[in-house]
């Protein structure tokens, strides 16, 4: 294979050999000499006052080294970081200490930790801690939590609402009145975007190792954000930044749940600093479901107006965000920073009104879960467009087509204020319709309906925004970085500021470098996750790794290539401006017969003692790359569902997805991301949901109760793609990590509503719920 063909090739992953042979190293696979184990005692109540904690028996238990409570941590550690405090959070509302002080605010809230010789002993001793609680009424239902007289999580604020944004509605009201006066329609609805548990198969885990001599802390964590964690950790435990090192080893999935700074990371660090020995904590699954961030959880109201032809004239949205009990890293940003900016979806909507209440309740904090705000926006607009079509008696694809932003409108400024980079929504729709054989699908649906069967077709023509983030997007720059070294043998080391954890970044980054240098991919090593060796980065989330991190890698390669041209020009006795590079060889343009190889130039740069004057020895550079704007992937998903009238069981018969994530570095990995994304989106639609009772007891505390899709519950997805390059970055890529999840949930929901012939059904579409709708119970 010509090396030049490597960018865009579906090559096998370079990560896999260690993963398929059991040779990878996840946090729990690490053993350090003298290592202790931590167990966490958690609140059994949703809301309670702590009267007293008695740790005496636990401390005396054989094998126990220490027991810590909030009392010990006071003045030494905390609070837990919130990146962008908004509203009353700026005054301290929702800011948590690593261990609960005075009150617990959710089932699973950490109260104390035991540090012991082994994990069995740590758990034995944990059960010996006595906590005297005074249970309090809990605020669980988010709409009730807003009401006067609701139980308050933070009494001193007199409300559970941290921020209420409700501008006057005059303008949108006028749009609705005018639309009605012109013979159009206004459709309204209330949508529940239920609470989900991200549930990476590897739970969280951490090892803290403090060296009392050098006063330096090394923290291994199953995290998506090594650099952010390091910087925040240093500040939170009171160490100088350069004395803290974070190492993220192999990570068994994140989906946003490991994009956070967690109390357990801080407490393990504190414990190791106190004791002077390594301390390991590995979360068990019940803890993961009870204390790792949850996602989604909104109640959203909307009104949408359209002409009788189906052209949307206005959209009004009121989003109630259930933040759970505390503000974690990005808890309060989901609606304003991620949902509302894309609330108009793929449609040219002239008038938009948005309002929100952000509310604390006695549940696990919510935060970014695969899609983070964009699935909620997409669910709302895609359901709303379907309801317009239903009201007007039109095919949902026709209403979509009528409202699409046209290719010539890009860059397009949405009514939300966001500028979309590029798109061709109709092309993706047409390709999906062809792949699904949509007309035939509708014909078969009509036939089956005539036989009395409940068959539904759902379409979603989603967009999303990713590759965060441009200047001004966040309080700090969200650039990405790459350090690159060409070694004397011609092999290349890449140290990435991104921190991929399953996406295959070691392969895609190597493909970018192999393409640029014209060298075999085997000669490239991509490393990430260790803050001591990698340049400061902003890490991996928000479908940003290839678009932002990949662009940093590309930029570093360009810089080294320029220097290699200079060096090679002396070897070729030519002017640097005349030298060109192709297939790993440097030569004077037009004279490829006299050339020097990549390896020869690498050797010269690293070994020669006769480099030309002004040329610094070595071949190493660090590039930082910051995007100018967001990218906007898009696509069309089509779902065919059949619901059994007698049992209420819904089965996905076909699932067609055409996605456009810009240029594809590795189509095999792109397809893999889409598959996994769709599975998670279908999971939300069909079976997933975190459930609390009115007292705040978690009813889905194990995988027996929290259902996730298994192999037999999913169809084979029929996928295709279109390619509309992004003009925002040199690679032309957009991002693909979240697209499948964002596009799929509304496609399934639209299909089920279509099957049942109703306006809306609440997710998840369990057989019980659907049976009740069918039989109007």
């Amino acid at each position: 294979m010509g090396v030049a063909a490597i960018l865009g090739a579906p090559i096998k992953r370079r990560e896999d050999p260690r993963l398929i042979t059991g040779q990878a190293t996840y946090v729990d696979d690490i053993k350090l000499y003298g290592m202790l184990h931590m167990a966490v005692l958690r609140s059994p109540y949703g809301h309670a006052r702590i009267n007293s904690i008695n740790t005496e028996a636990a401390r005396k238990h054989p094998g126990v080294v220490a027991v810590f409570t909030a009392e010990d941590l006071k003045g030494a550690v905390g609070p837990v970081a919130c990146a962008v405090p908004l509203g009353k959070i700026t005054e301290g509302m929702g800011i948590r200490q690593p261990l609960a002080e005075d009150k617990v605010r959710f089932y699973g809230d950490p109260v104390a930790v035991v540090i012991a010789d082994d994990r069995y002993t740590a758990r034995d001793a944990r059960d010996l801690i006595e906590v005297d609680y005074a249970p309090l009424p809990a605020a669980i239902d988010v709409e009730k939590a807003i009401e006067e007289g609701a139980p308050l999580l933070y009494e001193q604020f007199g409300t559970n609402v941290a921020l209420s944004v409700k501008p006057p509605t005059d303008d949108i009201d006028k749009v609705f009145e005018q639309t009605k006066a012109d013979g159009g329609v206004v459709v309204k609805g209330r949508l529940i975007n239920q609470r989900l548990a991200p549930t990476a198969v590897e739970t969280r885990g951490v090892i803290a190792d403090f060296n009392k001599g050098s006063r330096s802390l090394t923290l291994w964590s199953s995290s998506q954000i090594p650099h952010i964690l390091r910087n925040v950790l240093a500040a939170t435990v009171g160490l100088p930044q350069h004395q803290v090192r974070v190492i993220v080893p192999e990570v068994g999935g994140g989906f946003g749940s490991k994009l956070n700074i967690y109390p357990e990371e801080l407490v393990a660090a504190y414990a190791s600093m106190k004791i002077g020995r390594p301390v390991k904590w590995i979360e068990d699954r019940s803890e993961a479901l009870a204390a790792t961030i949850h996602g989604r959880d909104q109640v959203d109201y909307f009104e949408i107006s359209a002409t009788k032809e189906g052209k949307v004239t206005g959209l009004k949205v009121y989003a109630i965000l259930d933040m759970g009990s505390y503000c974690q890293l990005f808890t309060d940003t989901m609606v304003l920073a991620f949902m509302f900016p894309v609330i108009c979806g793929a449609y040219d909507i002239p008038a938009l009104y948005t309002s929100t209440d952000m509310v604390f309740t006695n549940k696990v904090p919510t935060d970014a879960y695969r899609g983070a705000g964009r699935p909620e926006a997409t669910f709302l607009i895609e359901r709303a467009i379907d309801l317009v079509a239903r009201e007007l008696g039109k095919d949902p694809t026709e209403v979509r087509r009528l409202n699409f932003i046209k290719p010539e409108q890009f860059p397009y400024k949405s009514a939300s204020g966001n500028v979309y980079d590029s798109g061709n929504y109709e092309a993706a729709l047409d390709k999906a319709l062809a792949l699904a054989d949509y007309q035939n699908m509708r014909a078969e649906q009509a036939q089956k309906r005539a036989e009395g069967k409940l068959v539904g077709i759902g379409v979603s023509t989603y967009i999303e925004s990713c590759a965060i983030g441009p200047k001004g997007f966040a309080p700090v720059g969200l650039y990405e970085s790459a350090r690159m070294r060409v070694e004397q043998s011609g092999t290349v080391m890449v140290y990435s500021g991104s921190s991929p954890h399953g996406q295959g970044g070691e392969t895609t980054f190597a493909q970018i470098v192999a393409e640029e240098f014209g060298i075999p991919i085997e000669n490239i090593m991509v490393l990430h996750g260790d803050t001591d060796s990698t340049p400061e980065g902003r890490n991996t989330y928000g479908s940003r790794t290839t678009a932002v991190g990949g662009s940093a890698v590309y930029t570093a390669a360009q810089r080294l290539k320029e220097k290699m041209k200079q060096i090679s020009s002396h070897m070729l006795e030519a002017s640097a401006s005349d030298v060109t590079m192709e297939d790993g060889k440097f030569f004077v343009a037009g004279s490829p017969q006299k050339s020097v190889t990549f390896a020869e130039v690498a050797a010269t740069a690293n070994l020669s003692n006769t480099l030309a004057p002004g040329i610094e020895p070595g071949l190493e550079t660090t590039a930082f790359w910051e995007p100018e704007a967001l990218t906007y992937p898009f696509g069309t998903h089509i779902c065919l569902v059949e619901v059994d009238k007698d049992t209420g069981v819904a089965e996905i018969k076909r699932y067609v997805a055409v996605d456009d994530c810009g240029r594809q570095i590795n189509p095999m990995l792109v397809e893999g991301q889409i598959h996994g994304g769709i599975a998670q989106g279908i999971g939300q639609a069909m079976i997933e949901g975190v459930v609390y009772d009115d007292d705040g007891q978690l009813l889905t505390a194990t995988l027996t109760d929290y259902a996730m899709p298994i192999a037999s519950e999913l169809p084979s997805f029929e996928t295709g793609s279109t390619v509309t390059p992004s003009p925002i970055n040199p690679l032309g890529v957009k991002g693909v990590g979240e697209a499948g999840t964002i596009g799929s949930t509304p496609a399934v929901a639209n299909a089920v509503a279509d099957a049942l012939g109703v306006e809306d059904v609440e997710m998840p579409f369990t057989s019980e719920r659907l049976w009740k709708v069918i039989h109007q119970k």
Binding site: D16, V251, F255, G502, Q503, H675, G676, T704, A711, S716
Partner: protein, 168 residues
């Protein structure tokens, strides 16, 4: 703490004599005592299957077996599925077909796939999906795992059909 018990187990062809607490799970024995960390733990309730190993040739979830129950048995983990330096066709299939992303469920998936193909060398897609019901993957949506098992099935059938000696 209960008195420790002595057990003798053959793991990946090697015999071990160990003293273990009666409550110690087989998965903790493999990981913490024998340092065979390729077998993972993803839940506490035997739903996820990340800890799947072979016990006397049959797949089991090592979180539902006590180490003392494995006394006198043979255990195969992901580290011992193929001879050093080579890949089992199922491992090859996962690599070829992009059957993994984060890789955490993968060793369990591979061991569960081994059982599927042992019981049925020529499974349909539906049979593969049914056979994987005890293993959860959050990354792939399972489609490429199904392809990986199909790939392995074909490789193994071809090898089995080849004349004696040719498959080695």
């Amino acid at each position: 703490m209960a008195t420790k018990r002595e057990i003798t187990v053959i793991v990946n062809g090697q015999q071990y004599h160990s003293q273990v607490e009666p409550r110690m799970l087989l998965v903790h024995y493999l990981r913490d005592e024998l340092d065979l960390t390729g077998t993972h733990i993803g839940c506490d309730t035997s739903q996820c299957g990340a800890c799947t190993v072979l016990l006397n040739g049959e797949s089991v979830k090592a979180c539902t077996v006590l180490a003392v129950q494995a006394d006198g048995s043979e255990v195969t983990t992901i580290e011992g599925l193929a001879p050093e330096g080579s890949l089992h066709p199922i491992q090859e299939g996962f690599w070829e077909k992009h059957g993994l992303q984060c890789g955490f469920c993968t060793p369990g998936m591979i061991m569960a796939s081994y059982q599927i193909l042992k019981d049925n060398p020529n499974p349909t897609e539906a049979e593969i999906r049914k056979g994987l019901e005890g293993n959860i993957c959050r990354c792939t949506g399972y489609q490429n795992i199904v392809r990986a098992v199909q790939y392995a099935a074909e490789q193994m059938r071809t090898a089995a059909a080849a004349p004696v000696g040719a498959g080695e």
